[in-house]
Amino acid sequence: MTMRFNATRRATLVGLSAVALTGARAGAQTPKKGGTLTFLQNSEPTTLVSLTTTATPSLTNSAKTTEGLLEYDYDVNPRPGLATEWSISPDGLRYSFKLRPNVKFHDGKPFTSADVAYSIHLLKTVHPRGRNTYANVTEVQTPDPLTAIIVLSKPAPYLIKALTAAESPMVPKHIYEGADAITNQNGNAPIGTGPYLFKEWVRGSHVIFERNPHYWNPELPRIDRMVCKFVRDAGARSVAFENGSGDIGYRTPVALADLDRLKKVPHLVFSTEGTSYSYNVQCIQFNLDSEYFKHLKVRQAVAHAINRDALVKAVAYGYGTVSHVPIAPGLKEYHDPTPSPYGYDLKKAESLLDEAGFKRGSDKIRFKVPMDYNPIGDEGRRTCEFTRAVLGRIGIAVEIRAQDLSAFAKRVYTDRDFHFTYNGHSNLFDPTVGVQRIYWSKNFKKGVPFSNGSHYVNPRVDELLEGAAIENDPVKRKQMFLEFQKIYAQDVPDLSLYSPLYLTIKNKRVHDDSPTADGVEANMSRVWLDA
């Protein structure tokens, strides 16, 4: 028997619950048509189609023009997108999709199963994650223009969650075929099936999308125009929200220190809806080849010294959920909520360091060690300062080193010239995609960012991660991830700290911006504005 989802019924149910939610929130307003939405973004994308990069700025914009096979509700259950029905064979090796009829690309050409097959082929060859996500795909069968069947050599239980517009964009075959995917001009002026047409991209300033009048859902989109403005300075973004020149921004688009002030601005709304597709976990990453942190007792001592609750308050201003394991609390199915076996205990930390042979010297210092941080967010420096303060109390003198992104990548992943860092990893939609890469010994690869940078090697962990990647039984798979997290907690190859809570900030005139798990990274076809 095949598992079959009745798409229409599911859609109705979801639709009803969405109405109920909106009703509770905004008093059941009927959506208005028209208007321009100004979307503030921290940095400029390198391409408007997230086919060859998964950098956040590209993910933000891609879905507006280029859609995916599925959408997902807040609990990451699939909903119809370009595919209206889907089924997975019991052995997990065949994924069949029934495509939405009468869907046209912006240039008027029809969207068919050939485009799906070609997009999956591109994702498997040029997408930074697609190489792993679609590694087991042997072929995509296209028995008729509205049916696509993905055939796998081994089960890939995470695949059904990988089909959002931003993660797996469906691009037009007739534009990519026979041309180089990376330099393809479609990345600069995209043509897709999406609710918005690409209008212009003024580099260093903005992108404008306009309403697609021939969108397959005639009710949508509701706004006339979306202006995506790139505002690099966090202070300038705060100002734009305050004076109303910016309507919406996500992933907490302002400095955390500004939030309290902005929350007093009457026309601003703060929301966490649509942040369940991908969770980050921030950590203290050890270099297990370091003369200090190769000792398990030293790592345990550091674990005993860090009070995660205090850290979240001090570093993240409380906008985070403590996590003792690298699988984020948001991935409820797999997250292990058991606290670390090494609770906050400075005395224990000191005795472990003594046992490890690092006694306090005449200057009360056990050893001096530099700490680096990933400079992407503004909390990296603060986390290092927090760590320096607490480790100072147990006799470890920490010296903080700053560098830009490229220098950090080279130091950690290429030169391996570090002892420990503050870093963060995205879990994405599944531990096999987001977590395995950090702890799998076969992914210790010099020069590859976000690989196994600690150089963690544990044969049992390898076995569990490799097993879970192809385990079709959800119960067994969960057991494997739980066992992995138990071993992780004992080994402390790195120290998971917390999962950041990302806020979407918007003007209260903006409605229905984030009805799906991936929030504003989805196509935003339903968003509407008060006049």
């Binding site: 390198t46 930074p128 001009q185 580099r203 403005k229 690099r232 300038a236 560098q403 490229s406 976000f450």
Partner: protein, 328 residues
């Protein structure tokens, strides 16, 4: 006639000087950039948050980063001979296009800031000189000292808080109202409104410099023989100050202003970031952080041309202000 000959000699001399200067700048820039840790493939992989060994290797090969350093330099110079600045892997566009898109914005901002600084600086300096030692001079001295010691970005931030957040008079981001379809006079007004705050932030420091310079040189000129002659002729004191004192005082000011053009480009990085101004300063900063060296070399090359060009213009201006300069 004299001016014509002067232009020819200046241009000739500049051409002879410029070629080796530009070549030196390119080669030095290129070598310095090699010292920076990491490359564009690292940045793009870090930003993507995920990478495989294959994608990283593919990027390096595609961008020519797997070539030896000398080969990369030769290839860049080879392209340059054909007036080709290369291709930016990050922007997926040719460097010339990327820069030309930003150049007018930066020139507008720089020229507005420089003109504003010169106008205000000369006016304030003249007033200070005319009332030297009296209260207008004292008050303005304090103001000038304040302007001199406040960093431009701070002035900019405060101006944003006051004029944009509190009063709501002036916009504080970008160089126009994006998505509005203004034409004609509305368009000009819209652009001008967006220009005010960034130009002001960029100009303040230079206002102070020019005011002090003008004051000092005008006071120095006051005791010269020709000033006494002018007074003796019975000319109006205002005309004396304007035609005789100020004209002489302008020589040091224009010299310094020419040199400041390079500083303005540097200051533009900060101001453009603060005000979301889509100019070359921000482009340069983003190119450094992104290790997009083809873009950065293009910006540096163009900036050196700008500075050389400015020096030529200043030379010619001097010839007009004081025909004795450079006659020999």
């Amino acid at each position: 006639m004299r001016i014509g000959r002067r232009i020819v000699t200046t241009l000739k001399r500049t051409a002879v000087h410029a070629a080796p200067t530009v070549l030196g700048i390119i080669v030095l820039d290129f070598l310095f950039l090699q010292l920076m840790p990491g490359d564009v493939a690292d940045v793009m992989a870090m930003e993507a948050g995920s990478a495989t060994a294959e994608t990283v290797a593919m990027m390096r090969e595609r961008f020519g980063l797997d070539q030896p350093m000398l080969a990369q330099l030769m290839s860049f110079l080879g392209h340059l001979v054909h007036f080709d600045l290369g291709f930016s892997p990050r922007f997926n566009a040719s460097v010339v296009d990327i820069i030309l898109e930003r150049l007018p914005n930066t020139l507008l901002l720089m020229m507005s800031a420089l003109s504003l600084a010169l106008l205000l600086g000369i006016a304030v300096g003249s007033v200070m000189a005319a009332w030297a030692g009296k209260w207008p001079d004292r008050v303005l001295s304090v103001v000038v000292l304040l302007l001199y010691s406040m960093p431009g970005f701070w002035v900019g931030l405060m101006a944003v808080v006051l004029f944009s957040v509190k009063l709501g008079w002036l916009p504080s981001d970008s160089n126009m109202t994006i998505g509005s379809d203004f034409t004609g006079w509305d368009l000009v007004l819209d652009r001008a409104a967006h220009l005010v705050l960034p130009a002001l932030a960029l100009a303040t420091f230079f206002v102070a410099v020019y005011a002090r310079l003008v004051r000092a040189s005008m006071l120095e000129v006051q005791r010269q023989d020709f000033m006494r002659t002018a007074h003796a002729k019975g000319l109006h004191p205002f005309l004396i100050q304007l035609r005789h004192a100020l004209r002489n005082a302008l020589i040091p000011v224009t010299t310094v202003a020419g040199m400041h053009l390079g500083n303005l480009l540097g200051g533009a990085v900060v101001v453009e970031t603060l005000f979301g101004w889509p100019g070359m300063g921000r482009l340069a900063l983003e190119a450094v952080l992104g290790r997009d060296f083809s873009v950065l070399l293009g910006v540096l090359l163009l900036s050196s041309f700008l500075v050389i060009l400015a020096n030529v213009l200043i030379d010619l201006l001097h010839a007009w202000l004081d025909p004795r300069i450079g006659e020999a």
